[in-house]
Symmetry: C2
Subunit: 268 residues, 2 copies
């Protein structure tokens, strides 16, 4: 198994994935866009899917999100529901442990003017991976998403913050809120609300993950305190080693696979 | 796909499973003991596993519990954990919707004397399926359970209750508490606490499902209000149709399979 944990973007990881597959390795990739590459570039996705089948190996893009919080856990929750009329997922995430490069790219540590300019030119992305998670869930449920609406707005620091790898000054961005809505038949079918902040508890939003499955048997799942982005992502990837080895050949998603689990040391 | 939803016991469903498999059908079975038949009768389990492989079909025992609350959801939760030092699951379940036969068998509607006598002679079983869930989880995590300790005690009605299919008189059993503990290296590794009552909210225990994964990255998952035993079990079974058709041949468990999901009507 080759683990590729470099950037977020399919175009940047595709050459490494190709090399690993041609060498006969299964691949785990942390790039958000790798969770469902067809959402980004169908021809690259199909080419690497075919290549993996030819070599009898599997590719999986996964992490905590995409890979768990907005998709695998949501699909698991759906199992106990008679039907799914719509889904809402809310995450409040402590960004304090991220490195400076990631924080800047997702939108932390900017003046309001810088934030707005960089959001427009695409160098500030917010959290990446909503379309991937939505496509994985919708695809497994047999739903066609008509479009995905998206909003993003900054959270301005009311005081200075010392994050692990970045000082956030009063008046600059300490976080952001995103709302992605997958539309089916003209109505919200999958709503994702994401609040990220270098210290979310300080603004009255302690980290949490919540899922509501609406339908004739409504369900509410919660993970409190919320999943930690660093330990959670590394856990999901490490815990996917066994399932990617056992997976059918091709580019698979978490919707196709059994739960990721840490096999005990003695069993490995 | 043949769905067998009759009794709880492997010995009673095995002939029907055999018939279905010999006819070339995949099988979904709601019998608690079918969730991990090796825990009950290894030779019957192995024989039907082999038979299914010969016929190229799959057998899955599943429902809400076993099949979800104490196993599939637990394994999914484990995915986000670096390691699993121990697991605790608590369920508070509203038994009010069960039929009279099931209620009597699990321990509701008896005088204290009847309860004690029937518990001893085995005609009162409490909830069935703890060893199955524990074996599925431990097996997937590569853990050997040394033994499973078990306790069960009645909850006596402080007033009359009108359940849907049974009247419970003051002073008789309105529910029960069970505690199953899977022991590894002499210590509790998997604790399951189950409180069932015909109206649990009336004794200050509203239905809920909670999971704690202990280790270097502790996690806490909650389903509140708790999963409904009737709608949940039927959902899991119906939502397993697609995954049992796609499953590898043999007797499989929920640890081997992707999430159960309701495929949309149009997609079916």
């Amino acid at each position: 198994v080759v683990i590729i944990a470099t950037t977020s973007f399919l175009s940047e990881v595709a050459p490494d994935i190709r090399t690993a597959v041609e060498a006969g390795s299964n691949v785990l990739c942390s790039a958000e866009e790798a969770a469902y590459p067809w959402a980004v570039n169908e021809s690259v996705a199909n080419e690497l899917d075919q290549l993996a089948r030819q070599h009898g190996v599997s590719i999986l893009g996964c992490g905590l999100n995409p890979g768990f919080a907005f998709d695998a856990l949501v699909l698991t929750a759906c199992g106990a529901a008679w039907d799914v009329s719509s889904i809402r997922v809310e995450r409040v995430v402590d960004l304090g442990g991220f490195g400076q490069t990631v924080l800047k790219r997702i939108g932390v540590g900017h003046t309001a003017q810088q934030y707005e300019a960089n959001r427009r030119n695409g160098t500030i992305t917010g959290h990446i991976g909503f379309p991937q998670s939505m496509s994985v869930v919708a695809g497994r449920l047999g739903i066609n998403l008509e479009r995905i609406d998206r909003e993003m707005s900054p959270l301005i620091a009311g005081r200075d913050y010392e994050a692990r790898h970045l000082t956030v000054k009063t008046g600059t961005t300490a976080g952001f809120e995103q709302r992605y809505v997958g539309i089916v038949a003209g109505r919200p079918w999958f709503e994702c609300a994401f609040l990220g902040h270098v210290d979310p508890a300080s603004i009255g939003k302690p980290p949490r993950d919540e899922i509501w499955i609406r339908g004739s048997t409504p369900l509410h799942f919660a993970v409190i305190p919320g999943l930690n982005p660093q330990s959670g992502a590394s856990a999901i990837i490490a815990n996917s080693v066994q399932r990617i080895v056992e997976a059918p050949p091709g580019w698979v998603t978490v919707a196709d696979l059994p739960p990721a689990v840490a096999t005990s040391r003695t069993a490995v």
